[in-house]
């Protein structure tokens, strides 16, 4: 049971980390699809 809880907790942590890290690394849709002349928020 401990491993189930740990796995589900890890899943949540990975999901939140991915949602934070990918845009930071420039993988947001707006960053990927705009040129240098475009100012992003």
């Amino acid at each position: 049971m401990r491993e189930i809880i740990l796995a589900f907790a890890a899943m949540a942590v990975i999901a939140v980390a991915a949602s934070y890290a990918l845009p930071q690394m420039g993988f947001s849709s707006q960053a990927q699809t705009s040129g240098d002349a475009v100012r992003l928020d």
Partner: protein, 396 residues
């Protein structure tokens, strides 16, 4: 990595329906329309039939052939308005834009309706049919065979079957797969079924949440597949005992328990299904996560053509000139098709690991199984464990 992805795609593209094959068109007499469309073409289009546009797709003028506009009485260019629109229609116009992704220069592509109809038609019909049919068969099997009990007398002794890290990886994979399955179905068919039931406002919130979960939990799924592969691949290599196990049907309908090592042939089938189909789902999922960055199908179709596989199946060569949108549409369809297949397999796995077999859940619950259960289902593995214990006891 790219080669692995291609290999996976090639392996499984063998069963792809021939969506993209082009059938040679019969010559049509167009003299009555001066070479333009005929009534027959228009009627075909209205009836949703395939129309061969090759007679006009190349008629896009000569954009470089016009006189320079700086010349006196200079022309607008070498292409008329109809020719310009035709070039846009057939994606051969020279488009310049500040938008960076490859699809930005495709102003018109016409596979969207086919994609929508395929998703809402055959894909959902056969996909859910497969999963629900599998569930129905399992219910029938349960009614006929009942729960597979431990035949012998329980010993009260436990054997460690899966270590903590193995159970963690299993539940990471299981939890993420179920969540991805549910959110995937919402994304696939929510517009058709949930909007009429809940309304667009409620569905909007659900769809946004489902997309967030699906995109971000996917990384846990991919990590778990890698963990599972390295933890168990050695135990899932083919072994001569697998043949006997398969010939006896795993003893599932009686006739004794065929000997098996840590994993029997049925479990090996599940393992390789998860690795190969899960790997393919991950590959197409990455293509969808990074839109237009990782196109796979044109390259896969080209390799299949090179191997002569479509020709062997009596098909025309697969179309390798795919618009970026079409690549994404194929990736989405492939993602869903393989997911449905894997889901059907996993449903059977869940059944046998829970209600279907006494003592099976303990392996992934506490990690320890009843020794009698292990002797009945994995006798060779128990002998290995006992021999190791004896060796360890003797040397200490």
């Amino acid at each position: 990595m790219l080669r692995l992805i291609y290999a996976l795609m090639i392996t499984f593209s063998l069963s792809l329906p021939a969506f993209s094959q082009e059938t040679p068109a019969a010559e049509t007499d167009r003299s009555a329309t001066g070479g333009a469309q005929t009534l027959e073409d228009i009627m075909k289009r209205q009836e949703g039939q395939k129309v061969d546009n090759s007679f006009r797709s190349g008629l896009t003028g000569n954009p470089g052939g016009g006189r320079a506009t700086t010349d006196q009485l200079g022309t607008l260019g070498g292409a008329s308005d109809p020719e310009l629109w035709r070039a846009l229609r057939f994606d051969s116009a020279d488009i310049t834009t500040q938008v960076q992704h490859p699809a930005a220069t495709v102003l018109i592509q016409d596979t969207g309706m086919w994609w929508l109809q395929f998703r809402e038609g055959p894909l959902s019909k056969y996909g859910f049919g497969l999963v629900l049919g599998t569930m129905g068969l399992l219910v029938l099997f349960y009614l006929i065979r009942g729960r597979i009990r431990i035949d012998g007398e329980k010993t009260g002794r436990k054997i460690l079957r899966f270590k903590s890290i193995e159970r963690f990886a299993h539940w990471l994979l299981a939890g993420s797969f179920i969540l991805l399955g549910l959110t995937g179905v919402i994304s696939l068919l929510g517009r058709k079924f949930l909007i009429p039931a809940l309304g667009p406002e409620a569905f909007s919130a659900i769809a946004i949440g489902a997309k967030w979960v699906h995109n971000n939990v996917s990384w846990a799924f991919m990590l778990a597949i890698v963990m599972i592969f390295f933890l168990w691949v050695v135990h899932n290599l083919p072994h001569k005992t697998d043949i006997n196990w398969l010939l006896k049907g795993g003893g599932i309908f009686g006739g004794g328990h065929p000997p098996a090592k840590k994993f029997n042939a049925g479990q090996k089938f599940i393992f390789w299904s998860v690795i190969v189909l899960g790997g393919s789902i991950s590959a197409s999922g990455l293509s969808l996560l990074f839109p237009f960055e990782l196109p796979m199908f044109a390259a896969t179709f080209a390799k299949l053509n090179d191997f002569g596989i479509p020709q062997m199946l009596g098909m025309a060569e697969l179309n390798t000139n795919l618009a970026p949108h079409t690549e994404m549409q194929y990736a989405q369809l492939w993602h869903a098709i393989v997911s449905f297949v894997l889901f059907a397999i996993v449903v059977a796995h869940i059944y046998i690991g829970s209600v279907g077999m006494e003592g099976a859940y303990d392996a992934m619950g506490s990690g320890e199984v009843e020794e009698q259960w292990a002797r009945e289902h994995h006798s060779l593995w128990v002998e290995e464990v006992k021999a190791k214990e004896a060796q360890a006891g003797g040397s200490s």
